[in-house]
Point group: C2
Chain length 202, copies 2
């Protein structure tokens, strides 16, 4: 079974236990001849896939009433994989979603690493630093690199920790964020796990 989670920048495939990515801009989905169960938050890709019979959009089999209308289907699928906890999906955007006793409580969206880094650079060349993921967030910074790193990461950390729930990290930058969220569990295949649950109900 081939699964695919399509985001703003890439097709993320899972074949057996092996996952791989293809760039949205260059990948030709019609070259895939196997049956693919997919979800997509990328509207342009979604439209093009409607013409390919072997690409099956499983989002239509999800009970979306549990979530909200404009919510990304990848967030819903990750939530389908757990009974409770706080999911931090670190991709081009960071989505943070809370589920308690099987019920979705809400979530928020924060800029991903690349976007946030560019934001600081656009404000001033004096803020053109890479983020320091080895930062100690317990004390307030006294240098520019840590001042933007703390601004980006401590604010997020503070909010996420305030929920006092198990944290599950997923998405392309999950392992990097695990350096900050030391208490968290990394599960790179959380969205795929949710997709499998939905498929098993078909």
């Amino acid at each position: 079974m081939l699964l695919c989670d399509i985001g703003n920048t890439s097709y993320h495939f899972l074949s057996q236990s092996e996952s791989f990515k293809k760039d949205v801009k260059s990948f030709d989905a019609s070259e895939v001849k196997h049956k693919v169960y997919y979800i997509s938050v990328n509207k342009d890709v979604d439209i093009s896939l409607k013409n390919l019979a072997n690409w099956v959009d499983i989002s239509t089999h999800l009970d979306k009433a549990k979530y909200y209308e404009t919510m990304g289907v990848d967030r819903m699928m990750a939530l389908e994989a757990i009974e409770g906890g706080i999911i931090l999906d670190a991709g081009s955007a960071i989505t943070v979603d809370v589920k308690r006793d099987g019920v979705f409580e809400g979530g928020f969206i924060y800029p991903g690493l690349k976007t946030m880094s560019e934001s600081y650079k656009n404000i001033s060349s004096a803020l053109a630093y890479e983020f320091n993921f080895d930062i100690d967030l317990r004390g307030l910074p006294k240098n520019s690199q840590d001042a933007i790193t703390y601004g980006y990461l401590k604010t997020l950390y503070c909010e996420v920790m305030s929920h006092k729930m198990e944290i599950i990290l997923t998405g392309g930058d999950a392992n990097l964020f695990a350096k900050i969220f030391k208490e968290a569990r990394v599960d790179e295949h959380l969205v795929f796990k949710g997709m499998k649950r939905v498929i098993s109900d078909l």
Copy 2:
């Protein structure tokens, strides 16, 4: 006495108790014939002002050893105005600085309103919303506009509140942020107050 605080986007003047702004791109500083006491975080402007005898850079009279080398002088001046508290200066960047019993403890930098709004738009057109400053941050969002608003503001709010100190808001967006930081005091002239203190010591 004419004071001027020069940022990345504007000259901010104070004449008596009246303040006004001029765009960095279009304003010609040589047209001002009065003596101006100024500070600048804008390197290009700073260089051009060195040739104008009536523009006096007062940052040279500040004891910068109390702060850190690459720190913006506007942040230092705002801190000079208080003995203790947490200052949130909401401009093109948001700077947050903590001073306790007369000693600077450190600070961080967060993207300003316009930059952050553009960041979300650049990630996806699905996130192209204005921020909702009337949001209730007590519960997790279940719609896209509040999901990005909460991502931007609740994270910042959580971190700032964790210091349990008096909050002073300043900068061009101070009144807007006062809708979120309801406990805070707004002082639009905090940087000027610090500048006056430094000048009074000359």
